[in-house]
Symmetry: C2
């Protein structure tokens, strides 16, 4: 039986600059399976024991050539490698990329604090994208092997995982619906800003301010626009006072109008 919400994960890494903090467990998607459960009359707190730990992902762990990009952006896992763990973002951002035959790296997703990475690999037991940290970021890790050996014994834990996965299915579908069939640069960016602000609401504590963290290049790549086009749309939105830009921080001044734009088709 669930014994209520508690801070489940030990913080073994803390970002120093205060620019982004670690998300509270109650706001994390992983929370459903971090809950202590009852097994054979005992309370089993997976997070306390071995399932979750917070690990930093930053400059140090790159075996790649020593250039700027790799120093900043370190890889959590590579596409097509076997699934070992699923992760939840604790701080920072991760970009999810697939590389096509011609070597082009396409951004297929962004994951902000509290969001899951790699749970869609449970099916094929192979990651279907690379996960790359933007700047200094950290994750909570759940070993799939350990979780499933535990889960077989504890129905409650399974129940929680079902919750987690069904929610995830919802999140994915909603994401898909936000972007499929949107062609104009205006509606794409509006949809993107609304989407990401909403996802960060609990973490940032604001429904109208947003720290993108990722570069314009990555946003443009994700949306399928050229960086020049994205830049122009950002400029236009600011001129029309829909948003206010302070570097990577975006203020949504007229959210209603942005929503209208986001829902606008053709």
């Amino acid at each position: 039986m669930t014994t209520g919400n508690k801070l489940a994960n030990k913080v073994v890494y803390q970002q120093g600059l205060g620019q982004h903090h670690t998300i509270a467990c109650e706001n994390c998607s992983m929370n459903a399976i971090c809950q202590p459960v009852e097994a054979d009359g005992q309370i089993l707190d997976l997070s306390k024991n071995y399932l979750s730990k917070q690990i930093p992902v930053s400059a140090q762990n790159s075996e790649l050539p020593h250039n700027h990009t790799q120093i900043k952006n370190s890889t959590l896992f590579k596409e097509q490698t076997p699934l070992t763990s699923i992760y939840a973002v604790c701080s920072g951002v991760f970009k999810l990329c697939v590389t096509s035959k011609d070597g082009y790296e396409k951004v297929v997703g962004l994951r902000y604090p509290g969001e899951l990475i790699g749970e869609d690999a449970l099916f094929l037991e192979r990651y279907n994208y690379s996960a790359i940290a933007i700047g200094q970021s950290s994750v909570c890790e759940v070993s799939v092997e350990q979780f499933s050996s535990c889960g077989k014994l504890v129905p409650e834990l399974q129940q929680n995982l079902i919750q987690l996965l069904s929610k995830q299915s919802y999140v994915r579908q909603t994401n898909f619906q936000s972007f499929i069939g949107k062609k104009s640069a205006d509606s794409l960016l509006a949809a993107f800003l609304i989407n990401v602000t909403k996802r960060n609401e609990a973490y940032s504590g604001s429904s109208s301010q947003l720290n993108l963290i990722v570069s314009r290049n990555d946003v443009a790549n994700f949306l399928g626009l050229r960086r020049e086009t994205l830049s122009r749309v950002f400029a236009k939105f600011q001129k029309e006072e829909l948003i206010k830009i302070e570097g990577k921080i975006i203020h949504l001044l007229k959210k209603e109008l942005l929503c209208d734009l986001a829902n606008f088709h053709s």
Copy 2:
């Protein structure tokens, strides 16, 4: 304990024209939770008892004005209504739509035989799109209430649902990746044809032939193209002998080239 694969669902509706047949259970996404499981030493076959039944969706059940569109396309459920069941398509096709404030109906997904509809509503317990049958179609229905009352007692059933949901998460992510950031009409259509053919492979028995069933209008709407543009790209693909068109039947003649196009960005 799972006792292996068997035809789980009674066929209470059969399409007469032979144009599309009912999918075999072993090829259906729902199959994971239709498996007989062991409970208290007994075999519990949910499909045999009450959980699944095949129901037709066609002209009869429409309470809408008696015009052509509604006669042919009947609604399985409406967006924003409370979740009661999740469905698997048995035959035909369903389009998933959301209606925006201005009344425009946007196609946000297509579901072919063997695919799930509505499982992403488990989270909010409210459907987040309308599901509309294209022509005569049929589904298997699982009552969420009945399933969950059953599932609490049978861990094995939960295990199967986890399988189902994690696979679904994968399918959604893959779908998303196929389309996000694709802008050229060529790459969108190529990605669409590859995607849908792959999804129908088990059902249709062909990896190079495809019965779209849905109208060009719906495809264009889904992809965010104008019907004229879609028509031109179809014509171009045929001229270049990438595909051969026979009404709604599309033959993929040069799949490799289509894949290249689909992965092509910029």
